[in-house]
Symmetry: C2
Subunit: 199 residues, 2 copies
């Protein structure tokens, strides 16, 4: 994670400690002590910056979102359809490493807080808009250079956000694996987007 | 809700009380007392059948799933594309009444329990398979009678389950409304399925 000018070094170290603690414990079992255990400095310094677990976690989501850059996520030298696959892999990896699974699980615990807490709701509105904008960016590039058909970029991006979010949720809350959902996305992209893939 | 031979009358009344209490209080604020308040018989009868809130709720999910019948949800006299819209409306209504919203919210609270509790996970695996099978049923009928193209029925059903689940989740956890997601599903169905809708 790179430095962010709006946060001081201590806050960034707290965010990195929060990431590790969240992967290890999940939301429900997370305590400020567990974050402090991952933090090299004193626990009082942690309390100086944040009062509650939810306050740290909302700051953490905001930090994550500030870190995300479409330019870091994709390689502009690749073709738009390769870029699109990179994005799908980013959000819905085929065989995620354990850390990714743990983190995704924790993210859904945090998202379920958005059912009742406005501060979480704001952050997840940002999450979804960011994923949406990343898809729009890549889809528009593909329509521009003729590698994708003249599809509705906004509608397709909206569809992909819902599909990817739903597939991620189903991966962590059902016994069905995500292979079928990934294949369905591949199939959607190929039948709908690829310009030479006429029926 | 119709009677189910596997449950006695008291159990069915408990399930109906659970539905009302869940819509009113959501999962987090739900207590056995709140269910008892909606139940006409004695609280001790409720405890005779169930020990914990989670035990009642898992029985409730199982009851809901046993109630669901594709034949009740759709009208076979309608064309397959009308049946498909009926299903999309069932899972992702355009402007859901308050009770529907409250219930959907509660369902996601229950789904988030599936992140760690196997008994919830089993029920939500059933939920998703049931939605999937309902889509397969209607899609296959449309391919058979020529009103849908020769699409991969399984893949399309899988895609629709993830999309509809993701759109429902986003409706209850972000500030974005679901209109765009519904339109994206409409657009998907029309561009992909409708046999005379060639590009």
């Amino acid at each position: 994670m790179s430095a962010d000018t709006a946060r001081n070094e201590t806050q960034i170290e707290i965010m990195e400690a929060t990431y590790r603690a969240l992967c290890e414990h999940g939301y429900a079992d997370l305590t400020i002590q567990a974050i402090a255990d991952e933090f090299d400095k004193s626990k009082s310094l942690l309390y100086y910056h944040y009062d509650t677990k939810d306050e740290i976690l909302i700051a953490f989501l905001s930090y994550l979102l500030d870190q995300f850059s479409i330019e870091d996520a994709i390689d502009r030298d690749e073709s738009p359809d390769e870029q699109l696959w990179t994005l799908v892999d980013e959000f819905l990896p085929e065989s995620p490493p354990d850390e990714h699974r743990e983190f995704q699980l924790a993210l859904f615990e945090l998202r379920s807080r958005a059912l009742s807490k406005e501060a979480y709701r704001e952050q997840f509105t940002r999450v979804d808009r960011l994923i949406h904008d990343a898809f729009v960016d890549v889809l528009a590039a593909g329509v521009d250079d003729g590698s994708f058909r003249e599809i509705g970029v906004e509608e397709t991006a909206t569809l992909l956000v819902s599909t990817v979010t739903g597939a991620m949720l189903r991966r962590v809350t059902t016994d069905d694996d995500v292979t079928a959902a990934r294949e369905a996305v591949v199939d959607l992209v190929e039948s709908r987007l690829i310009a030479d893939g006429d029926d």
